[in-house]
């Protein structure tokens, strides 16, 4: 009886899964086109899954092993089951393998079940709670029906008189398993993540983020430049269907593991943002419906079940809908600091930040609804090329006594020192002065653009004002094109990221270095000597745009080590560093929460027991120094280095030759 029932069950499930797959693909294809090399993507899939994805999952060894056992067991069992029970190839070897596979899957599912006993808050409940049972049903069912195939059970057992009942029960268990695993995979059950996730990895919108065989991970911005020349081209994302198809596919891959939620500074601060919920809302929007079925933590302060959306309905309610709620409220989108902690933690490689900025673009460019100081800052950027509205001709006032060499005079140097908007900020001017002192001590051939420099466009872009970003970027690129230099050095990681990773698309390709990287190189080349550190304990705060965005975790630590400082690491440091709250225009849009992000970060500093927190970003400096009653002093790496400099006249003369312009030799 089972022999006839099983193939029917299996092929029905497969057929239903195929129908579901077509429907799901249709949902994704509502999105805008996005060119992807399908074949190359599929070819890269195994590596992306086995190396990159497991690199992230592997941070939690327990889950990683569980997943290998369960998923590996399932894939093998599914294929073998189709062969053995579907096509009736009752080969004992295949049967044996099938037993093994289903056993492995069963063991895995036990661990899945154990995790669900007292699940951490970040995990979603709902259908996810039944998943371990479904996994068990599938694995036990498959195991039992395979026993006769390998002759471990007398074939007749299931054929005997009253055994039809047993057979029916078994068939029921298998049907349950098949329902969850095959049918649910494409019809929106928890197993959807496997189907969508695999395709998402293959057709990822930011393919350069994956490692290659040559090693190394590509650093890039996920933000694609808008086409502003074409008036018909849309400005950002208004409706779920305005995302590109592979973004929609990416949202669908979410496993609701909540790792993003656990690291999100805005969520921790009680601001109305939860990256997991946001991704789930996008899934709701792409299929149409309300968020009532969501079974995870809500956006702080916003109950679940009040929002709904549709693929072609606005995500954020337009002004005309007074009191109206759509899929997501605007303050959710404006809470994000673009720190990328969520992107870094997401095992499914989902790109939250880019989606958020895409939606912000619509709000800013089409609706003129940048909250709080947003409009003022953007107006300032347009009128004065800096967010503070300062007179652009005063950009170099802080250095009136420093006699800084100007690009306009020298035309050609080794290092172009990019000042950033910190040049207008009294606190950051101290950092800049320190940096100049260090460059002079190492006899670096450098110059500044001075009043020719403009804001890099970082804030404008994160606030969704792509037009102002491109205007600033293009003018900066035109200015830089007038001069010759080997590299740009800056003490601002935001400028660093924008100049290095975002200007390329607009035609400006530069070798950019953060000052910590550059100082580390100078030290390694023996061009700097330091007196040993005598101060107290020091910790280091990784800026998001230096660390997670650009992978530079080592150089700042090497510089501190060179100073004789042993860094007391905070619990969250390196790629897990917690944002200072200053990125993405968050201090400008200033969405209220229950706590302040910089307060939480200074608390991390306090817990590390450090008396000094070394930073490498003007924004971090401002945010962390703004914390009242802080237990630690905030010092930029450049300041610490400048304080420790030993000026050795002997070395001076011996090094003269290296100080000649290298640009000449290389470029000319």
């Amino acid at each position: 009886m089972l022999e006839t029932l099983l193939p029917i069950l299996i092929f029905t499930a497969l057929a239903l899964a195929a129908i579901g797959a077509v429907r799901r693909i249709r949902l994704w294809r509502q999105g805008r086109p996005s060119p992807v090399n399908l074949f190359k993507g599929l070819a890269a899939l195994p590596r992306r899954y086995l190396v990159d994805l497991h690199h992230v999952i592997g941070r939690d060894k327990m889950i990683s092993n569980t997943h290998v056992a369960t998923a590996g067991g399932f894939v093998a069992a599914a294929v073998l089951m189709i062969l053995v029970h579907g096509l009736g190839i009752a080969n004992p070897l295949l049967g044996g393998l099938l037993l093994l596979a289903s056993a492995s899957m069963f063991v895995g599912s036990l661990f899945v079940a154990r995790r669900r006993i007292n699940p951490p808050k970040r995990l979603s409940k709902g259908p996810w709670m039944r998943l371990p049972k479904s996994l068990m049903a599938f694995s036990i069912g498959v195991f039992l029906i395979t026993l006769p195939t390998v002759g471990l059970l007398p074939e007749g057992l299931l054929e005997g008189g009253g055994s039809w009942l047993l057979a029916l029960v078994l068939a029921g268990v298998v049907a349950w398993g098949l329902g969850e695993m095959f049918f649910g995979m494409t019809w929106g059950g928890p197993m959807k993540h496997a189907f969508a996730g695999a395709l998402h990895l293959a057709f990822h919108r930011r393919a350069e983020r994956f490692s290659t065989k040559k090693g190394g991970v590509g650093r890039s911005t996920g933000l694609k430049a808008l086409n502003l020349e074409d008036e018909a081209a849309p400005l950002g994302v208004e409706k779920p269907a305005d995302f590109t198809w592979n973004q929609l596919l990416g949202f669908d891959a979410c496993v609701q593991c909540g790792r993003c939620e656990a690291v999100c500074p805005a969520f921790a601060a009680g601001q109305p943002l939860n990256p997991k919920k946001l991704i789930q809302d996008m899934v709701v929007g792409m299929a149409g419906g309300s968020d009532a079925a969501y079974a995870g933590s809500p956006y702080p302060g916003k109950p679940v079940g009040e929002h709904a959306g549709a693929p072609h309905a606005p995500i954020v309610a337009p002004v005309v809908m007074k009191e109206g709620k759509a899929l997501v409220d605007a303050d959710t989108l404006w809470s994000c600091t673009t720190c990328r902690a969520c992107v870094e933690e997401c095992p499914m490689m989902i790109e939250h930040v880019d989606a958020i900025v895409d939606m912000r673009r619509h709000l800013t460019l089409e609706r003129g609804k940048t909250p709080n100081k947003g409009a003022e800052v953007l107006d300032n950027l347009i009128a004065t090329d800096n967010p503070g509205g300062f007179d652009p001709s005063s950009r170099l006032n802080w250095a009136a006594d420093l006699n800084l060499p100007l690009m306009a005079v020298l035309k050609q140097v080794d290092v172009l020192l990019w000042l950033g908007d910190g040049a207008f900020d009294m606190r950051n001017q101290r950092t800049l002065r320190a940096l100049v002192k260090v460059l002079r001590a190492a006899e670096v051939d450098f110059a500044v653009l001075g009043t020719e420099e403009r804001d890099s466009g970082d804030v404008a872009r994160r606030l969704g004002d792509e037009a102002t970003f491109q205007s600033l970027a293009k003018r900066n690129i035109a200015t830089l094109a007038k001069y010759r230099f080997l590299q740009i050095v800056t003490c601002d990681p935001h400028s660093f990221h924008v100049l290095g990773n975002e200007y390329g698309e607009l035609g400006g390709v530069y070798d950019v270095r953060h000052h910590s990287t550059f100082i580390a190189e100078l030290f390694d080349a023996g061009r700097l000597t330091f007196t040993p550190w005598k101060g107290g304990r020091v910790t280091y705060h990784d800026p998001c745009y230096l660390g997670r965005y650009n992978g530079e975790y080592e150089a700042p630590r090497n510089v501190l080590k060179a100073l004789g400082i042993e860094v007391k690491e905070m619990e969250r440091s390196g790629f897990r560093s917690r944002c200072c709250g200053g990125g993405g225009g968050a201090p400008i849009t200033d969405i209220p929460g229950e706590r302040r992000i910089p307060d939480m970060r200074m608390n991390d500093v306090k817990e590390s027991g450090a008396e000094v927190v070394a930073v490498g970003c003007p924004q971090c400096t401002a945010m962390l120094e703004g914390v009242v009653d802080a237990s630690a002093e905030v010092r930029d790496i450049a300041e610490l280095v400048a304080d420790a400099l030993v000026e050795s006249p002997a070395a001076d003369t011996s090094r003269r030759p290296t100080a000649t312009t290298m640009a000449e030799e290389v470029i000319v």
Binding site: V319, T364, G368, K369, T384, D391
Partner: protein
């Protein structure tokens, strides 16, 4: 519901013309939407939201070039809702240096809006603030300056709130048509959005330009910055600093020197600079 309905019937939308000029950023001198004119448009947009049926038209007299177009689009970008009727603006084309008043007056007389809103003073050119008055004189309409808000329009009479010094307000009833001018007392202008600004079009209307003969005789030069007196604050606590910053300083001391030789004068100035710690 009855009185509400009654009121609704009496309130009716009207035709509003907003006069906009090209502004000048105080620090960089870049062309932009003028601050006060933008507030004027904001007022009109608020009226449109309150009074269904209100139609806004925007009017600018001047030449058309790239930088002025970008500035004018700054106004057009304020209409971000669907069907706000600001998909275009009328541009009375005339060369730089022409008198805007005759062109505007002629156009307004021909199109006869019920309400004309304008900023009190332009940010470039003469900036004398006379335009609203000259227009009112030309058209023979009443003018209300320094407007804070438009409260309601009933049977051809508009109720206005005029701003007076020290936050005082005066309620006025004015028969339409009328001209109102706005300054810093009116609500700040909303953000201008790139998309609608880019899509909007200009309806270019040629005029018979009249050269501004008076302006041509003027000699224009950048204003000299008047030096600000330094305020020396000796404060130990944040509270003292705040008090010092918030309080108005009264002039005290000082001396008037008359009939002195240049040397004596220089001596006195030098002494003062030393006292004030400007020279050390």
């Amino acid at each position: 519901m009855q009185p509400d309905l009654h009121q609704k019937q009496q309130q009716q939308g009207i035709d509003v013309a907003v006069l906009v000029s090209i502004g000048r950023h105080p620090t960089t001198g870049r062309a932009r939407r003028a601050e006060q004119d933008a507030r004027g448009l904001e007022l009109a947009l608020a009226m449109e939201a309150e009074l269904p049926g209100t139609r806004i038209s925007m009017l600018h007299a001047g030449s058309q070039d790239d930088s002025s177009e970008a500035a004018l689009r700054g106004y057009l970008g304020m209409a971000t809702g669907v069907g706000m009727g600001l998909e275009s603006m009328t541009l009375l084309e005339q060369p730089e240096g022409s008198d805007a008043i005759p062109a505007l007056a002629k156009h307004l007389a021909a199109t006869s809006p019920q309400l004309v809103i304008t900023g009190a003073r332009a940010e470039r050119g003469e900036g004398s603030g006379l335009l609203p008055y000259a227009l009112a004189e030309h058209l023979g309409w009443p003018l209300v300056n320094s407007l804070a808000s438009v409260e309601k329009v009933e049977n051809g009479v508009v109720t206005l709130l005029q701003a007076l010094p020290r936050g005082q307000r005066r309620r006025l009833k004015v028969r339409l048509p009328a001209i109102i001018s706005v300054d810093e007392a009116a609500p700040a202008a909303r953000q201008s959005a790139f998309g609608p600004a880019r899509r909007a079009t200009f309806e270019i209307t040629p005029t018979s330009p009249e050269a501004d003969s008076e302006l041509a005789q003027w000699h224009l030069a950048p204003a000299r910055k008047r030096p600000k007196r330094l305020k020396i604050v000796k404060a130990a606590s944040a509270r003292d600093r705040f008090k010092a910053a918030a309080s108005k300083s009264e002039g005290k001391g000082g001396q008037v020197l008359t009939d002195v030789t240049p040397e004596q004068g220089a001596e006195a100035i030098y002494k003062l600079l030393k006292e004030e710690d400007v020279l050390r």
